[in-house]
Amino acid sequence: MSLLQSTQLRPDASASAARRAFIRAWPEFQNPVAWLVALILVIMPLIANGFFLIEIFGTTLILGIIALSLMFLAGYGGMVSLMQLTIAGFAGYMVAVFGVSANTNISLGWPWWLATPMALALATLFGTLGGALAVRTEGIYTIMITLAIGAAFYYFTNQNWAIFNGHTGINTVATPQFWGVDWRSDIAFYYVILGVAAICYFAVQYVSRAPFGLALQGVRDNARRMAALGFNTNAHRIAAYAFASFVAALGGVLQVWNYRQISPGSVSVGACIDILIIAIVGGITRPIGPFIGALIFVLLRTFALDFLVKVGLDGNRFRLLIGLGFLAIVFWSSDGVIGLWERWRRRDASAGARPGGGRHG
């Protein structure tokens, strides 16, 4: 009898266990705020006009994807790579070189469904090789090496006319059109970006909880102990670079479709550092951080000029504002805006002294 009972109970128990495991794996699905944000993002085309849809939210999501790849490396792997934008830019250049553009002497004119995977593959390869180089040294050197790679690529695109068309870059890059839809029209393109961003976000979230991600975090915390346990630490790091490069490459492809042109200015050292700023300001402990940072960055970039002029200052001092804001964040919060918000909430919760209040973050 007892045997029968236990067999009757088992499916129920395993179902609830599976449910619990699912919740533990994806806590977002339990969070009403996350559902609300998702809903707003999905119905955004009803709320926002074309300018806001692409210039603000589309750009935010694209920069967020690129910064997300940095967040993955820095947050889970402990490797602050300044070349994520370079990888994205490389992917963008490859789309322009293999695909169709106004520079017919350079572009090979492949259809988009061939050029895009090619660009993604090459950019991932580029990023993985760069990563393999960067993991030769440790810790703080990573920044130097990746910055050197990024800067070298920038000067190379400036110098080279055969592939990258020098400082004028490649213009009027074709964007995909199929099934009777122009995928670069505002609303369709917004959904493309949103879809890719969501996939990247959940992929990073998933990888961070998969055995590989856990091992990577182990390598971050104590590489020597992980090596003693039999993990190939360098292989884990390089694999992390490969994954992050693919994410960054996706962002780069979207970016070149967004602006329809690419030039050395898109991969300049300043732009590489902007990605770091976005990730740090947003917070590098959680995948949502880069998107928050990107939103702040894009809003500042778009409206700082008007704002500064209105306050009576020189409108060109946008970068000064960004730099000072970044310094303030680095000084007062090691975990960006998310950290500030959490600290504020914790203080709020302890001040209110609600019994059992405050979820575990």
Binding site: V80, L133, R136, T137, G139, I140, Y141, I143, M144, I145, L147, A148, I149, A151, A152, Y155, F156, Q159, N160, W161, A162, V269, G270, I273, L276, I277, I280, D314, N316, R317, R319, L320, I322, G323, L324, F326, L327, V330, F331, S334
Partner: protein, 336 residues
């Protein structure tokens, strides 16, 4: 030296052959076949000399960077901004007073003071937090770049070369032989030679100061293990401030040098930051002789590259970095 030959006979042989070929190319009169294949010898010699003098400039920038990094583990990504700041100070002083020498002194003192300020106000508060310090230097480089753009605008400036240094001098290097049998000697700008000699003198002075004086001994001990050094009673904070001031001041001097034989404009800060990064990665982080070797290698690679493979010149520099990282990740002359 002999130990290096004993331990790496093959590498030593390759280095010796490369140096011998280079010396032959510099001193011999090129046979017509070679000139037809490679180009005029004058072009080659100019590229070599430009590369070496550029290496001198790179050494000035990178030695400060590597000194600060070696002692304080602070990757100062605002080093390029210090370079550009020094250049602008030098430009302002030289147009105001007309004295080239004075502009060096003022640039050194001005940028060194800025370095002292940075070390005391900013970096001392976050000692031991490498990553955070680096982030702060990135933020500072953005702020400095924008402030300098604000004050000086986007124009190109050039520090006036003093009249007694203008003009070429003949060097005892034969570029070609005329049909009459009369040798043609190479003409080279005097100012670049003077600056190169000055950077060699500064390099030797630094080497002597580091290896032959008490303060140099303290700095070297700090590079090896600053915690133990602090425990022996040395006032390590004072040493940090001094080294930061020296490193920053060198960047300032380099700015005036760069402003004299190149030009100053926004974006130069990034260029010289990249140069010092690559030089230090190639030469070995925290090593002054490494910075000198790396600077000459990178300077030569850049100049020869831009003469013989113009659109891929930066790739040569980059490949050297890749090669060094692949074979000797700690850099050519690092002891670690």
């Amino acid at each position: 030296m002999t130990r290096f030959i004993e331990r790496h006979p093959v590498w030593a042989l390759i280095v010796i052959i490369a140096v011998a070929v280079l010396l032959w190319l510099v001193f011999a009169i090129w046979p017509p076949g070679l000139e037809a294949a490679v180009g005029r010898k004058r072009v080659f010699l100019n590229a070599i000399l430009n590369g070496i003098t550029l290496g001198g400039l790179y050494f000035l920038v990178a030695s400060g960077f590597t000194l600060i990094f070696g002692l304080m583990r602070n990757v100062n990504l605002a080093h390029g901004s210090l370079y550009l700041f020094g250049g602008y100070i030098g430009y302002a002083i030289s147009t105001w007073t007309g004295s080239w020498i004075l502009s060096f002194i003022v640039a050194f003192i001005g940028v060194a003071l800025l370095g002292v300020l940075l070390q005391i106000v900013v970096f001392r508060r976050m000692e031991g937090q490498d990553l955070r310090q680096t982030m702060v230097t990135i933020g500072l480089s953005i702020v400095f770049a924008d402030l300098m753009l604000w004050v000086f605008g986007g124009d190109f400036y050039q520090v006036q070369t003093p009249s007694w240094l203008i003009g070429p001098v003949p060097l005892p290097l034969i570029t070609a032989v005329k049909s009459s049998g009369e040798p043609v000697y190479l003409q080279y700008p005097l100012v670049r030679l003077v600056i190169f000699v000055a950077s060699v003198v500064i390099g030797i002075a630094m080497w002597l100061a580091l290896n032959r004086t008490r303060i140099g001994m303290i700095v070297r001990a700090g590079v090896d293990d600053r915690d133990i050094l602090a425990a022996t009673g040395v006032r390590i904070q004072l040493v940090f401030v001094l080294v930061f001031a020296l490193g920053a001041g060198l960047a300032g001097i380099a700015g005036v040098v760069g402003g004299t034989f190149q030009s100053l404009s926004p974006g130069e800060d990034t260029r010289f930051l990249l140069a010092s990064l690559v030089v230090v990665i190639v030469g070995g982080m925290g090593s002054i002789p490494g910075a000198a070797l790396g600077a000459v290698i990178i300077g030569l690679a850049e100049q020869l590259g831009s003469v013989y493979i113009p659109t891929y010149a930066i790739v040569v520099t980059f490949l050297i970095m890749v090669l060094v990282l692949a074979l000797r990740p700690q850099g050519l002359l690092a002891r670690r």
